[in-house]
Amino acid sequence: MKSWKSRAVALSLAPLLTLAACSSGSTASSPATTSSTPAAAGSGGSSSSSTSSAPALSGSLTIWNRGPIDDTTALKPLIDGFKKKYPTVSINAVAQPGDNYFAVLQAAVIGSKGPDIASMFPGGYQVQFQSKMLDLNKYIPQSELKAVGAQYYAQDGDLTKATYGVPVTSSFYGLFYNRKVLSDLGVTSFPTTWTELNAACTKVKAAGKTCIGYGSDSGSGGFPSFLDWSYLVGAASDLKGWDAMLTGTQSYANPAVTAQVTKWAALRTNSYTNQDVLTWRGVKAGFADGSVAMVMGGSWDTPTYEKTLGANLGVMPAPFSDTPQKKLVRLPDNGYDVLKSTKNPDAAAAFEAYIISAEGQQLVAAAGQVPSRTGIATTDKVNAALLETAASPGWTAIPMFDNFTAPSVTDALTNGLNSVLAGKSSPSDVLDKMDSATKSLTAAQRVDYHLGS
């Protein structure tokens, strides 16, 4: 009898331990923030760099950066510039691991252990955190927010409503290519359609090289398929169609999108890509040594590739289109939010105002990134060349689709597209799963970002 009692206790406790470990019970407190007029922090938005014009601010700020503090967001020069302007404010910048940054931030916010300022992506990422972030409309003038396209950090994509963050850069997705490899094989102009891409890849393949390299730096988790997706769905549907898919009123598994994904999957079956698209660790090395002709990436990758390829590096929108590609996937992003829990909201908002000011954005340009503020050009030649092309008549910019999908849909998308290119799933399977994930969203999670309006 006794042994049964002890067994029963063991039986109850073993799973309880598991379950308790899965439960998190704390709730975040949200200290009230002091209100301030936009003019208070607005001085940061002016192009003046004189210390005397800045309001007296003091205290310390902790900034969490997603990933290393390098040139990607020009954080270091921005902090240095801000300190010159506000010498009595001290800033501690912390590099958080990029892989699970949002999980770490979420946990910190729930436990009221978050920083004052945190890296934030626009769209769905922002929506996930908006209840914990400070409304910057009270601190930064609308004209400044408009100048950097901060609407995707605002509630419902509307700057007149609460705005929780500001974008530092205006990043784009593109297909990087090795000019020399392509020109040596007779590909003198970059392909703009599926047909031209397949023709170019046939030549690259015949030369024993990989046309487009896919893989994973760590060997796990597959490749960032969301880069390709925006171009695939961008050629299949206009932005109103994107809104409809995001809110679930239109199916992802529609014929146009399915056809696009099918053509994309054929890149591997035609051996235009490496076969081990999920696990190859050598994509970047292959691109650098010329055994890979093209790789998908973002504007933040340009400085890295320039170091190895120099003048041979080029970047263009992915030609995943039946008609000549005239769309560039571009979005003001790499931003920073101020947490409601900050004890120093005025200084934090002043930093936000500074990084989108003309002065701050010049620093972003000098770091080789694409500034989010209109009228300030990037100093990077490769990025500048693409932006110049995309500014030509007939070209349009479309946002990064994956920034607006709910996390569970993004998960279905990235996992699914990885499986499709690896030949493990069919395009319709994956698109059906995205539809299914969208259907599972609550009404509050189906955000209409009004991308098409």
Partner: protein
């Protein structure tokens, strides 16, 4: 008559109440005096109360809290009651969830095989007395490595251009080469292999300890009776170390359910698709990568039920085997 007399004596003794001077003071409740057994139970419960309170506070309450949140849409701060939606829409209607459960089932089902391998290794070590300490240390070495290191190493070994394929190519078996971590089932097999390797050391030490408790004279007697090799292991040794085998099974199953996260994170990130996603990994993904703590809590409840079922089955089969 003598028997009847003894019985009546016994009844008389049983019914005899203790004299007032022999009773323990201060145990009067509601006017009824408690028996010695009841009083002992009461004091026992009183002493156990602090520990019980801790268990309730640290385990039961969070568990109940998790149960509550599994019925809500919870982003970590605000929770809205949505009934069974996390289960019906989020889990049971999702085809990926079935695959996740299947992955868990396969990993758990592989545990007896893993323990069997450890038992075989331990048995061989027992047979080789001179080299035993050295090889036991060798087999235990993986235990000192972190899951991350093991995951990264096996990730490299099984990558398309990794050591396993290189070896196969070099020995003329290139037809067997594969992108192991990109296959639906090969990735799961690679994960299980990495897990088995990392747990082999613990099980070998555990089972070696068990084997050391076996009386050598019994083995000698069995040997004189003609037993040897597998027969000796199955019929003589195994019954004597059953409890150690059970412990190894429970420890390994528990790890297979709740500790394999690090390996998945570093080797496959749950992919390709959901091929190597377990309940534990899905819980992390849903809660922290997607910020859907409500559904994460629902996954936690399912993990709890699986854990409960496995523990119950294990205990039941252990009892049945002893009976």
């Amino acid at each position: 008559m003598a028997t009847g007399s003894a019985m009546s004596k016994s009844v008389e003794l049983r019914n005899r109440r203790p004299k007032p001077e022999n009773r323990l003071p201060g145990n009067r409740f509601g006017g009824t005096r408690l028996g010695l057994q009841s009083r002992r139970s009461l004091w026992g419960m009183l002493f156990a109360l602090p520990a019980l309170l801790l268990v309730v506070l640290l385990l039961v309450l969070p568990a109940l809290q998790a149960l509550y949140y599994s019925f809500t849409s919870w982003d970590g701060t605000d929770a809205q009651w949505i009934g069974l939606q996390n289960y019906t829409n989020g889990l049971f209607a999702n085809p990926d969830f079935r695959r996740i459960l299947l992955n868990n089932a396969i990993i758990i089902a592989s545990v007896p095989l893993e323990v069997a391998v450890a038992l075989a290794v331990s048995y061989l070590l027992m047979m080789r007395r001179r080299s035993r300490p050295f090889f036991r240390a060798v087999f235990f070495l993986p235990v000192a490595l972190s899951w991350v290191v093991i995951g990264l190493t096996f990730g490299y070994l099984f990558s398309s251009r990794g050591a396993v394929n290189t070896l196969l190519d070099n020995i003329g078996l290139s037809a067997l080469s594969s992108d192991w971590l990109a296959g639906d089932w090969t990735s799961l097999a690679a994960l299980i292999l990495a897990f088995s390797w990392s747990y082999l050391g613990i099980n070998v030490v555990l089972l070696s300890t068990g084997l050391a408790t076996v009386d050598p004279s019994v083995i000698e007697a069995a040997r004189l009776d003609g037993a040897g090799g597998l027969g000796m292991l199955r019929l003589v040794i195994l019954p004597q170390i059953r409890r150690y085998v059970e412990l190894a099974l429970i420890v390994t199953m528990s790890a297979a359910i709740t500790q394999i996260f690090g390996l998945i994170y570093t080797m496959t990130a749950g992919g390709p698709g959901r091929s190597t996603t377990t309940l534990e990994y899905a819980l992390y993904q849903t809660s922290f990568a997607q910020g859907n703590f409500g559904q994460g809590a629902a996954l936690g409840i399912v993990l709890f039920v699986v854990s409960l079922a496995v523990t119950a089955l294990r205990i039941r089969s252990g009892v049945a085997a002893r009976d």
